[in-house]
Amino acid sequence: MTDNLEQLIKEAVEKALEGDMDAINNIEDRVTRSKAKAALVKAKREAAKEKPEVSSDESDSTQDSAKIKTSNENIAELIIQQFPEDINKDLSSEGHIQIHPKNWMAIAKYLRDDPACLFDSLQCITGVDLGEESDLEVRYNLHSMTHLHAIEVRITCSRNNAKVPSVESIWRIGDWFERETYDMYGIEFDGHRDLSRILLPEDWEGWPLRKDYDVQETYHGIVVPKVKEGWE
């Protein structure tokens, strides 16, 4: 391609961006015309990429997330001050606190009742398998309807003796969430009144969401299909 043609395309694209599509359509050579069109699409895409950075919404949302962040940091600070021995400071970050399971019940009560925290709603309990050779983790997402702040609490427990105190009596939804986590990971919640499987049948074998789970071959004579690895 000669410099001349490049120059032609560049000019046509610039004109098209200003709204004059004829500048491209009037190019006589078909190949040059399609090249110009491709260049136009590319230019538009780049313009769209740059745009959000300068738009006002973007700055608003970063402000919002900054606000939430500071309130989360404060909450984490507060809990660390209150229970200095139960928090693993090294693993905690602005978004979450990592605690030892032993005193979880007392901390949970504090989180719900303290006027500065008032986490009245337990949003979610997520079980996580940290890897075949390592531990299991339970993550609690708490939210306060009064203060509109949120925090994540993480508790790690060993794979072979997975036990975490139950908070079912503090947030009633803990009942089902804990049963679900028990069902999928085999994590036992000490003090739960009725810790039984909730989604799977009572007599199912193993803990399906653990990374080292092997599906049982048959269930009451029915062949259980294997999970296919790596669907692409």
Binding site: K44, R45, A48, P52, D57, E58, D120, S121, L122, Q123, C124, T126, G127, V128, D129, R139, N141, M145, L148, E152, S169, W171, R172, I173, D175, W176, F177, E180, M184, G191, R193, D194, R197, I198, L199, L200, P201, P208, L209, V227, K228, E229, G230, W231, E232
Partner: protein, 460 residues
């Protein structure tokens, strides 16, 4: 009138409901027509969503989210893509955001229409069901026009949507809204203010706000209890902060705040609000723009985790996604609003007030005292609570005391026979001697005073 009590009857409902609204089994204990306990048995529709996700790429998860709730698939897609885009810090073009909001709100109306229609059907109103399904079909037609599917859309993708809007889309939706708005009035006339419907829903299943929050109930069910909470307003995601709409809450217009009627009516009002949002979104919808623009070829989010909540028609739908940097999610948890809403069923359907109260006075024998010291008071309390609830009752108060008796308990138990069984079981252990007194409401004394009884003392 005194309280007539009969035997407890266990009634099984489901799991195969004749009209398959969903496969759920309820073990209901009833005394005549009064429910004393409900135990929901779930899991019949468990389809290993979370395990599947760990073996799929991020794009392949989206069709699964459709199937998690085929009544409001758009909203399920929406929640997932919002979470993914936040995790990957992608900003999607305005046109895409508007299209998504339009789809989500249309789907919210469709979902509410189904909810209210079959609700009416279940309490015995057949006509409104047909009306609502007729109108829901129009929304499904719009979806079919857009992406070819009626229920399972796979429409919203990370960074964009699968198809651009078809020619004439905006006019079609305007046409639907103009048609739909007067219909809301019709529904109200035929169902909402129908006397039979009110009789069957007002003052039934009252859900107090603090109970709702503790059980994680969300969405219209929570708002029915008078809690003004809507993620679209309170924690706006996507572009919801640009729209002007109200958050309707239950006010106890007909019965008590938080009853079945309020939950019904909140959904009715929410459809009006969705129409409001739709009109604004259609007006501001940018005309041009590529809907695939920000679409990455292969999704590999950075290492990290995200918990993102969105407001689906059922309530708080959240995704917890953990990424290890590979093209497949390391862990994906879906926090379903219906799961939490179902857990409160037992709490609100129990006719607790119908249960008689008993005062239990217990004194520990030597062995029992030793055991108590070893186990501690609170753990014993938990055990007693468990015992009472296993018999369909509950503990009102439990105190330890000095003096003649060691423990005082006030307990609600379904009937005398259950109470006798409980007290026999405790006494048989030999650790505790239990004395039982039947407690009466002041109303019963009032009632007694109105009865005239002639009695002659001996020798008079």
């Amino acid at each position: 009138m005194g309280i007539v009590k009969g035997d407890q009857m266990i009634l099984n409902m489901g799991p195969q409901h004749p009209s398959t609204h969903g496969v759920l089994r309820l073990k209901i204990s009833t005394d005549g027509e009064i429910v004393s306990n409900i135990e929901p048995v779930i899991g019949y529709l468990h389809r290993c969503f979370e395990k599947h996700c760990e073996n799929c790429t991020y794009e392949q998860v989206i069709p699964f989210t459709d199937r998690c709730d085929y009544i409001a698939s758009m909203n399920n897609n929406f929640g997932y893509v919002v979470a993914m885009e936040k995790l990957m810090e992608i900003k999607v073009p305005d046109r895409v955001e508007y299209i998504r909001v339009i789809m989500a709100e249309l789907n919210r109306i469709a979902s509410h229409l189904l909810a209210l229609g079959v609700y009416g059907l279940d309490v015995g109103a057949f006509t409104p069901f047909l009306y609502m399904f007729r109108d829901r079909e129009r929304i499904l037609d719009i979806f079919e026009l857009t992406c070819g599917a009626r229920l399972l859309y796979n429409y919203m993708w990370v960074g964009g949507v699968s198809h651009d809007l078809p020619v004439g889309f905006v006019e079609t939706v305007y046409g639907f809204l103009d048609y739909f708005e007067p219909k809301l009035k019709e529904y109200n006339e035929i169902l909402t203010y129908n006397k039979i419907f009110i009789e069957r829903t007002a003052d039934v299943g009252v859900l107090p706000p603090e109970v709702a929050i503790s059980y994680g109930v969300s969405g219209p069910n929570l708002r029915g209890s008078g809690v003004k909470w809507d993620l679209r307003k309170d924690e706006p995601y996507s572009i919801y902060e640009r729209f002007d709409f109200d958050v309707p809450v239950g006010e106890g217009t007909i019965g008590t705040t938080g009853d079945c009627w309020d939950r019904f009516y909140v959904r009715m009002l929410e459809m009006t609000e969705s129409v409001k949002i739709l009109r604004q979104a259609l007006k501001d919808l940018p005309q041009d723009g590529d809907v695939h623009q920000a679409l990455p070829k292969k999704i590999r989010p950075p290492k990290g985790s995200i918990y993102q909540r969105t407001e689906s028609p059922r309530g708080d739908l959240a995704y917890y996604i953990i990424s290890d940097g590979s093209p497949q999610p390391y862990r994906l948890k879906m926090r379903s609003p219906a799961f939490t809403a179902l857990s409160v069923l037992n709490e609100i359907s129990r006719g607790v007030s119908r249960m008689p109260k008993y005062l239990l006075e217990g004194s520990y024998l030597a062995e029992g005292s030793k055991g108590l010291l070893k186990e501690g008071g609170t753990s014993r309390r938990k055990l007693v609570e468990g015992l009472a609830s296993s018999m369909g009752g509950s503990i009102e108060a439990l105190y330890y005391a000095f003096g003649e008796n060691d423990i005082y308990v006030i307990v609600d138990v379904p009937d005398d026979a259950t109470m006798t069984a409980l007290s026999l079981a405790v006494n048989a252990t030999g650790a505790l001697r239990l004395k039982t007194t039947v407690l009466m409401d002041p109303e019963i004394i009032d009632e007694a005073s109105t009865k005239s009884i002639s009695y002659r003392a001996p020798g008079q």
